[in-house]
Amino acid sequence: MIEIKDLTKTYTVGGQVSKVVDHVSFKLAKGEIVSIIGHSGSGKTTLLSLIGGLTKPDSGSVIIGGKDIWAMDDAGLSGFRNRMLSFIFQFSSLIPTLTAFENVVLPAAFGDYKEEITGYAKELLDTVGLGDKMNSFPSQLSGGQQRRIAIARAFINRPEIILADEPTGDLDEETEAEIMALFKNMNREREVTFLLVTHSSELAGQAGRQLRMSSGLVSAA
């Protein structure tokens, strides 16, 4: 269960104070798929980074498994990001110097993972249909393939929550459908909770619940 309580974040740009996330509160049940739709600049990505522990809120709390992640120190918060949650970003998030396989196992470099992780990485690469590309570098892969590698990486730590920011943003319809099917499959098999941020009302419609974000405020869609 994830509980977001009264989350607020403001930015000051050129002397102008902008409230990007404005007293947002909602709950996510375990294994739920929730989508957040909204226009560019509505605060969706910032909200996702607040929930994922990437940027500190001005006020409010994010309670996951009964713990407020923003009350943790750096080691605790990093450990939480390493073991409990994964991000799928809207841009290519692969490290260019590492192969597809190395990118998938990368989170294991920062945590206490067992050696079997390598077998699981191969399995994930097979799942996203790129088992034969494990030694390819990102520059040798297409945008869709890179996105699928990033998705495989998101599952390497067997997360409880996946925060996906426009996960199919620049992909064709066929690949988008494949990825959504993959998410649903993972959700069903492993009870992974998904919070998807998207422009696409079609993708949002496939979620169990939809939220709308506008001017930093979240409401039911």
Binding site: G79, F87, F89, P96, L98, T99, V105, L106, M134, N135
Partner: protein, 402 residues
């Protein structure tokens, strides 16, 4: 099946990313380490040679004819062959001077080329076994015997073996021992014989040698003095010069100190240049890593998003810098050694000073010091960039790098 990736591998792969930049940074550390290491090794070799040479000389003061003081110094330090003579009476006078504990004569005989199969100039040094305290203790310790008749001991660089027979001025001498290297040509390129043998060789040279030599039995080249406890060599040297006419008394420490002063000046110069080079290398590395952190902000943010702690990011940046600096340091060690080895002859002949590599433990310390120095260079240079990188807020880092 692939392997797990570790922070070390990430650092290595990052360095390979811009190989030209990595090589340039590595070269900067190589140059600094090579300069510092070769200079330190060079000076330490000279100091080692002086230390061993002084110990081997075993004398606190060397008394020579007044007008040959410069030649005597040159012979001691650079092993430049020379010969000069003074009356043996100087020995008896020296023994009576206050503060003199022991005095022994030596004969320096101009270099003689071997007559047959060798073509190396050697310096002949004759000593008096009865009173000698410089060569005899070594003989007793290492050969367990005294030198008699036509027996000689050869310095390390004289190309002979024990058992060889070598003619000098028409007299055949038997090699009964070779000395360990000292780095001082005065010892290493000399042949030691008794004074009786030297006088006999000179006497028979008129009949046996193509180039005869004349040394009367009442002539000596130098008197080596050991001072009593409570007296300084400098004070005894002054006293000797005061009491005996026509001589120059050289305190061995004075010679060593003169060289040390020369070396000190040289060391200061080298040190100043090295410090400047080091600061430049530090700035270069520091600035390069500042740029690296800036250009990789998004990646660093992504690593944080995957669970890297601040410490992991700090370690990654420092590790990259240390990998460059230690590799540069090792290359510098090899380069510096090669430089010193390649130009050893030229350096020695330019400085006219003794030279002997320090013992293995000291060498190991120098090598370890150079590696530690290069490691510290990387560490110091990367401290600020690594701190900046680790303190980036993940979300900001990812956004700025987009």
């Amino acid at each position: 099946m692939g392997k797990r990736i570790r922070i070390f591998s990430i650092a290595v792969k990052n360095l390979r990313r811009k190989i030209i930049r990595t090589v340039l940074l590595l070269l900067a550390v190589t140059v600094v380490t090579a300069a510092l290491f070769s200079a330190t090794l060079f000076i330490s070799s000279m100091q080692n040679a002086l230390k061993i040479g002084t110990y081997r000389l075993g004398a606190d003061v060397l008394v020579v004819p007044e007008k040959y003081a410069t030649e005597a110094r040159a012979a001691l330090l650079a092993g430049e062959p020379t010969s000069f003579y003074m009356d043996r009476a100087v020995l008896e006078k020296a023994k009576r001077v206050e503060g003199v504990k022991a005095a022994t004569p030596q004969l320096f005989i101009k270099p003689a080329s071997f007559t047959c199969c060798y073509n190396v100039d050697v310096f002949l040094i004759a000593f008096e076994p009865e009173t000698d305290f410089t060569i005899t203790p070594w003989l007793e310790k290492n050969l367990k015997k005294k030198l008699t008749g036509n027996e000689i001991i050869a310095g390390r660089t004289v190309p002979v073996l024990v058992g060889d027979s070598i003619p000098f001025y028409g007299t055949l001498f038997n090699v009964v021992g070779t000395m360990e290297p000292t780095g001082m040509k005065f010892f290493d390129q000399s042949v030691f014989m008794t004074m009786d043998a030297a006088y006999a060789m000179a006497a028979s040279s008129k009949e046996n040698a193509m180039q005869p030599i004349t040394i009367e039995r009442n002539k000596i080249s130098a008197v080596l003095i050991k001072v009593q406890d409570g007296f300084t060599p400098e004070r005894v040297a002054i006293r000797l010069e005061h009491d005996i006419d026509g001589i120059k008394a050289i305190a061995s420490e004075e010679v060593i100190n003169t060289v040390r002063r020369q070396l000190g000046g040289l060391m200061k110069g080298i040190l100043a240049i090295s410090v400047v080079l080091w600061v430049l290398a530090l700035l270069m590395l520091g600035f390069a890593f500042y740029m690296i952190v800036n250009e990789r902000q998004r990646e660093l943010g992504l690593l944080r998003a995957m669970g890297a702690r601040k410490g992991h990011i700090f370690r990654l940046i420092v590790l990259e810098a240390i990998l460059i600096s230690v590799s540069g340091g090792i290359a510098g060690l090899i380069g510096g050694s090669a430089l010193l080895l390649g130009f050893k002859g030229l350096i020695i002949s330019s400085f006219k000073l003794p030279y002997l590599l320090p013992p293995v433990p000291v060498l190991m310390e120098l090598v370890a010091g150079a590696v530690l120095f290069s490691l510290m260079t990387g560490l110091i240079a990367s401290l600020i960039p690594a701190t900046l990188a680790s303190s980036l807020e993940p979300y900001e880092a990812i956004r700025k790098g987009e």
